[in-house]
């Protein structure tokens, strides 16, 4: 199978799974807003799935702390490849105000390879749509 052709199919059909890695719930609420009829991400082929086995994109929200780190790692390993990880919010991007906390993991990259960051505390749904569109652009190139 032609890889470019396959990646264009993949870009048009990104199924999203929501990984909540000790967030403050703020980004989660914005992700729920993103999936409402108002923003209608189904027109890009994006669909929220409940099982990580169906996922193409893991939306990771929250700074990863020591307690959830093994579970986040396991979720990533359970996802069928190719899978992309999008860090939503300032927490996966920089650690936010929890950066020097006693139970925050030192290097998030060791737990899960994040392909794309969406800064903002929380980012607006429009920003998340833009990020997914950029991911599509990478796949289509």
């Amino acid at each position: 199978m032609n890889m470019g052709w396959y990646k264009r199919r993949l870009a048009k059909s990104l199924w999203v799974f929501h990984v909540s890695a000790s967030p403050c719930n703020n980004c989660d609420i914005e992700i729920l807003d993103l999936l409402t009829p108002r923003y209608d991400v189904e027109r890009f082929g994006i669909k929220l799935v409940g099982s990580v086995r169906h996922a193409d994109v893991l939306l990771l929200s929250g700074v990863i702390n020591e307690k959830v780190a093994p579970k986040v790692r396991r979720l990533y390993e359970q996802a069928p490849k190719p899978v992309f990880v999008v860090g939503v919010g300032t927490c996966p991007t920089s650690g936010c105000c929890f950066k020097n906390s006693y139970n925050t993991v030192a290097r998030r990259e060791d737990i899960i390879p994040i392909d794309m960051y969406i800064p903002g505390c929380p980012p607006k749904p429009e920003a998340m749509i833009e990020a997914i569109a950029k991911l599509m652009g990478v796949l289509n190139a």
């Binding site: 199978m1 396959y6 199919r9 993949l10 048009k12 059909s13 009829p37 209608d40 189904e42 027109r43 082929g45 799935v49 409940g50 099982s51 086995r53 169906h54 193409d56 359970q78 069928p80 490849k81 190719p82």
Partner: protein, 309 residues
């Protein structure tokens, strides 16, 4: 197996025709559902993109699961649906009683449900097992009503079982929907189909919000693609079966083509409207509905058909 049989099975009206039409009608379903919610909805080739994307993804076998059953279930279910589509389609389009009768169709459709149950329970996942259990209960609920519904055209055609003979007797005496028993049986049949396809309000086995797609939860990659394709093929098979049983089939010449499309779209749009305007019922409500309301009504329809009404 002769060459013509292979063409019937694999190209028209079997696998290729049913799959392509099913994926397009699946898009109609998603688009109309989107318009119900004042959304724009997905593009035309969305279901094709989903299918080809899933074909290229990794398949993960669950460590504690029964691997051969896990792999075989979606493929056997797919095979059953291809057989049913070839049988129903060749009766509708070529008026040939190829392969079997209505009882074989009912059996094959039941094997499909059993494959969902086996596939779901082969993983060892709790949610999958829950979904499989719910599928068993729903099958127990809708099967009686569905068989009674299928009895009505058999009785009205003078106890014919072959699909082409059912069509022939409707060509002589007018479609069965034109009688009281036909209308009752058609409406009950529509709801049974809703349950057999696991559409709302009977999407109890794979309730996404509580047991995350139930039997399909552990499936990934090509096997999931086949489950999704099965679902879309049923968007063709069940409306065609209802058209065959109650609407007198297709007449593919002149205005007959328009009527054929309208009959098909009528049933599909009715299904989509029922799907979009009803919340999910509980499993006990579903079984109570099928055993206490749908099955007695279908039984009354059978008696009316025997009396000739």
């Amino acid at each position: 197996m002769s060459g013509l049989t292979l063409v019937y099975l694999l190209v028209f009206p079997g696998f290729l025709f049913t799959a392509v039409l099913g994926l397009v009608v699946g898009w109609v379903d998603r688009k109309v559902s989107a318009r119900f919610q004042f959304r724009v909805g997905p593009p035309l080739f969305q279901n094709f993109n989903d299918f080809f994307k899933l074909l290229g993804k990794e398949t993960i076998l669950v460590k504690d699961g029964l691997h051969w059953l896990f792999v075989a279930a979606p493929l056997v279910a797919f095979g059953m649906l291809v057989l049913v589509s070839a049988m129903v389609g060749s009766a509708l389009f070529f008026h040939s009683g190829y392969g079997g009768d209505l009882i074989v169709v009912m059996y094959l459709l039941m094997v499909y449900s059993i494959m969902v149950i086996l596939g779901g329970s082969s993983t060892g996942n709790v949610f999958s097992s829950l979904g499989a259990g719910r599928e068993i209960k729903l099958l127990l609920g809708d099967e009686l009503a569905f068989i009674l519904v299928c009895l009505v055209p058999i009785v009205k055609s003078g106890y014919k079982l072959r699909l082409d003979e059912l069509l022939a007797s409707q060509a002589g005496a007018g479609p069965f929907i034109g009688s009281v028993s036909g209308i009752i049986a058609f409406l009950i049949g529509l709801l049974c189909i809703q349950a057999k396809m696991a559409l709302a309000p009977f999407h109890i086995p794979e309730a996404e919000t509580e047991i995350v797609e139930g039997p399909l939860m552990e499936y990934s990659g090509p096997l999931l693609a086949f489950w999704k394709l099965n679902r879309f093929m049923m968007y063709v098979i069940f409306p065609f079966l209802l058209i065959l049983l109650f609407f007198g089939g297709f007449r593919l010449e002149g205005w007959g083509i328009l009527w054929a499309v309208l009959k098909y779209l009528l049933i599909v749009v009715l299904m989509i409207i029922i799907k979009n305007t009803n919340p999910r019922v509980r499993i006990d409500q579903a079984i109570r509905f099928f055993w206490k309301i749908a099955a007695p009504l279908a039984f009354i329809a059978v008696i009316l058909a025997v009396l000739g009404v």
